[in-house]
Symmetry: C2
Subunit: 213 residues, 2 copies
DNA sequence: GTCTATATAAGGATAGAC
DNA sequence: GTCTATCCTTATATAGAC
């Protein structure tokens, strides 16, 4: 059985079921905390059956991370060099916060992998991710040099967007614990806050350079 | 042996050695990924000797988190209601980023605990932490209502400060992977970037309310 | 393809000598 | 207080029937 190219329909389907279950368990418990028992239970399959589709627990984890990487980076890749600079970046912030709200498990999965030193995706970070960030950082830097946004370090801007948006997924319990008894509306407040934060940061100063302070 | 009140000097010392080793291992591997073997090795003690000082692996983890909590929250507690609003908050940002640089293991320890749902410190979050945040949020809200800082949601401001500063500790490998081949200087750049980001966010608009946009 | 049963190893915790 | 030896549970992975 070629792991990368499942042949039958049922193989494809079962691999997807397993990866969905694995996402649920790995994101909640971390790699070591997750057990094949719990993944099998979540998938509705037997443990040996899991290992019929994937050679090992680690292989499931790697397949999961690899399969999600492109989706996870799509919003950044979507920044359009020909768009309006401020609106492009603010749209990116919005999209990332939407992803934190709609796909918190994916966020936590990556977060735990990276906090632990990214043992299984370090090459992805230093390869494709770095390439993409370099590319978009160049776009943002050009915007800054043209005076179309405030002069900001592009990489640290990207980091700050990742940090502030993913925070709502990764530290969800803490956010809820502090905001309680607010309901689910805190994502609306977060949207408004981050829009204000980054719009102020990005908007170039007025002609006199005295607009702020 | 009362765990909370070690009697002899050697007990105190060994408990500290164990907690230091535990911080090293738990922060790198997470609670489940860490093993008593590795903690014992890092502490230079035998595994049963660890369990002479602490009743269980979990007890070590709990003692570690509890012992670090106050230190971890000290910078927020230090925000002075009588100080200059913008400078107080910027000083807090600076202090938090210094802590991310100087105490990354503590940051990663808390990060992993919270990402996994804070099973062992949920009461700390909903109790003392929430109380402290509520208190400081009230201070910040008063500043905003007095027009001494821009009108921002205090809780989301605090979240954004936590997120952006702790990011440099928690996602250190990713930051380094992307910034490579920059050396250790990226914390200076981060300081400058975050000072700019939050100063712009906090500074109240001019009299006409037209300073920005 | 899927299961039951099981091999094998790792890891938390204890017994008991010193 | 500290160690060696060991117990026992949990967990990954495999064997082999169906």
């Amino acid at each position: 059985m070629n792991e990368a190219a499942p042949r039958t329909r049922i193989q494809k389907r079962n691999r997807e079921i397993i990866l969905e279950a694995a996402l649920e368990v790995f994101s909640a418990e971390g790699f070591r905390g997750a057990t094949l028992d719990r993944i099998a239970e979540a998938a509705g399959l037997s443990k040996p059956n899991l290992l019929y589709y994937f050679p090992s627990k680690e292989a499931i984890h790697v397949a999961l991370l690899a399969g999600l990487m492109d989706t996870w980076l799509a919003p950044l890749a979507g920044i359009d060099p020909d768009g309006d600079p401020v609106e492009e970046i603010l749209a990116y912030v919005r999209l990332k916060l939407d992803m934190a709200r709609d796909y918190p498990r994916e966020s936590r999965l990556f977060a735990q992998e990276i906090v632990q030193g990214a043992p299984r995706i370090l090459d992805q970070i230093e390869g494709p991710l770095k390439t993409l960030v370099d590319e978009k950082a160049a776009v943002i830097r050009a915007w800054a040099e043209a005076g179309r946004i405030a002069p900001l370090d592009p990489c640290h801007l990207i980091f700050s967007i990742w940090a502030t948006t993913q925070h709502y997924a990764d530290f969800d319990v803490q956010v809820r614990g502090i905001l309680r008894p607010e309901g689910e509306t805190h994502f609306d407040a977060a949207h408004a806050f981050l829009e204000g934060l980054f719009r102020r940061a990005l908007t170039p100063d007025g002609p006199a350079g005295a607009a702020i302070r």
